[in-house]
Amino acid sequence: MPEVKLDGVTKRYGKVTAVDRLDLVVRDGEILTLLGPSGCGKTTTLRCIAGFVVPDEGRIFLGEEEVTRLPPEKRDIGFVFQNYALWPHMTVFQNLAFGLQLRRTPKEEIGKRVREVLSLVRLSGMEDRYPRQLSGGQQQRVALARALVLRPRVLLLDEPLSNLDAKLREEMRFEIRELQRQLGITAIYVTHDQAEALVLSDRIAVLNEGRLVQLGTPEEIYQRPANRFVAGFIGLSSFVEARVASVEADGATLETEDGVRFRVPKGSLAEGQTIVLAIRPEHVEILAAPSEELENVFQAEVLRAAYLGNSIDCRLRLGKWELRTQLPPGKIPSPGEKLWIRLPPEKLILVEA
């Protein structure tokens, strides 16, 4: 399996730049997710790699071969569409066999390979069904099988799970991940769903407004978001803007304009610098009572709380800032109630303002 390389890829639609000088290397055998809000250029990027869209500038390589202007039918890729795009006039078998027939594969070989890949996606025995006779999840797996049966150089998936219901979607995440590992195929996966990206990626490329914002493993992206956009897009974050009031040997003190003071690890902070604190809900600790010896202990006021079954989604007010947290199930706090919270310094994420 070759690596996929994008070199300064740019695509404009009229005045809108959908993809802006994108450099990216997808490593051999990894599954990389292009993640971002709608309109961030992730689908355009994928379609450039597939050959459905020809970039205005830049070059695309599959392995050693430059494919920038090669038509899609000559690229040897597998593509899974959001709407599956299973040809409705063909049975499952015919859908899978079509590409093999075009390659003049012998008949027995076609039958063998179709059966093989169908058992891989656990659809053995469905050969003669028409797509409309299958459930959404089954159609999804046929689409996957159709892309895999040709043993493509790279597998491209364009939001393949977004038409499935929530439960099935979660199952399929693991299935796709498993399959990709098992086959060792290089895969590029487009999604706007951060949970999906976190579950199934080796690495995530976060895109915004056509540009690559951050590239890293799920852990890196979640724990060390490069900026406020990434921190807000991946996982939940509450943001607090503050100024570095003082830097000491064992840490730094931040102060917001309304006088709330936080202790944070020193890092490379400089006095007077403005910075944004990103606070994840799971990093807000609830204390039974105020504590003198711990740092960053505050009294916060409950703004509203919503029962979620396994937890309680709670919005707190700290100074003029709103913090979101999750409480264990139990008594639902009523608005106006005061809670003691602690924000462990080492858990706080600092991003550029």
Binding site: W87, G99, A147, L150
Partner: protein
């Protein structure tokens, strides 16, 4: 909310449909039945096949001519339309858009205007021959004679090709691009995309367009009446002759039944398909 969505609404729908249905019963079904009865009746008013004997012996050749024109016209216009529609669907060039809007013209012009157009365009000294003669493609003294099956077929092609193209193209436009891209991604070239994906996906639509075209060509009286000179000619023209020159409604009706038979299988396919779609939704 009774009757709003699929409810029966009592007699209201029947009442609303009554005028239209009554009109069709009196003005269509009655003469339709009459035409069949008349075709089996002799001068004395008794049951007989004499009209059919006459029809076949006098106009047998024309019955074949009608079929020939309809088959030829349908096949050629369908072939041209499929190619044109696929080209317009897959190309985003200005030429494709231009061809598309130009071809619409034929759908909207009525047959009587088309007939006059063809009469002047295809005449022995008409514009087509003028142009061909000046280009040296035909001899001035022996221009192309087109007031026969060739000119008639051309006239039908002129009118029906845009129609089928339009219907087929409407079908093709509904197909999401992803179906085409999916084919490309597994290695299909343009001809595979057209022949294995696009056209098979809209087979029912193509069938309807073909059937309607065939029925239209068989049924049309204006065009052959105005441009075919002498024999052989179409059955529709024979019917008019039979009525206007001989006042012979019985043989005319027998010829009418032949028209019904020519379109028979196709018309029934069309009726069944459309009724099934409207009533059961598939």
């Amino acid at each position: 909310m009774k009757g709003l969505r699929g409810g029966t609404g009592g007699f209201l729908p029947l009442f609303l449909l009554l005028p239209a249905v009554a009109f069709i019963l009196v003005m269509y079904v009655y003469p339709f039945a009459l035409s069949i009865i008349r075709s089996f009746t002799d001068e004395a008013g008794s049951l007989s096949l004499v009209n059919y004997h006459k029809a076949v012996s006098l106009y047998g050749r024309d019955i074949l001519f009608s079929i020939q024109v309809a088959v030829l016209g349908t096949l050629i216009s369908t072939g041209l339309s499929l190619a044109l529609a696929a080209y317009i669907r897959l190309s985003d060039s200005r030429v494709a858009r231009l061809v598309n809007s130009m071809s619409r013209l034929g759908i909207f012009l009525p047959y009587v205007v088309v007939a006059q157009m063809m009469r002047s365009f295809l005449a022995p000294h008409g514009l087509l021959n003028v142009l061909l003669a000046n280009m040296g493609l035909v001899d001035i003294d022996t221009p192309l004679q087109l007031f026969n099956i060739r000119g008639l077929t051309f006239g039908f092609l002129w009118k029906e090709t845009p129609f089928i193209t339009f219907i087929v193209l409407s079908g093709l436009q509904v197909i999401d691009d992803t179906y085409i891209e999916a084919a490309r991604s597994v290695g299909a070239r343009t001809r595979h995309v057209i022949l294995r994906i696009l056209l098979p996906m809209i087979k029912p639509t193509i069938a309807i367009a073909v059937v309607l075209t065939f029925c239209t060509i068989v049924s049309t009286f204006t065009l052959p009446y105005m441009i075919v000179a002498g024999n052989p000619t179409t059955v529709t023209v024979d019917i008019a002759h039979r009525v206007t020159y001989f006042g012979d409604y019985r043989v005319a009706s027998a010829l009418g039944v032949f028209l019904y038979l020519i379109v028979g299988a196709m018309a029934i396919y069309y009726l069944r398909r459309t009724v099934r779609e409207e009533v059961y939704g598939y």
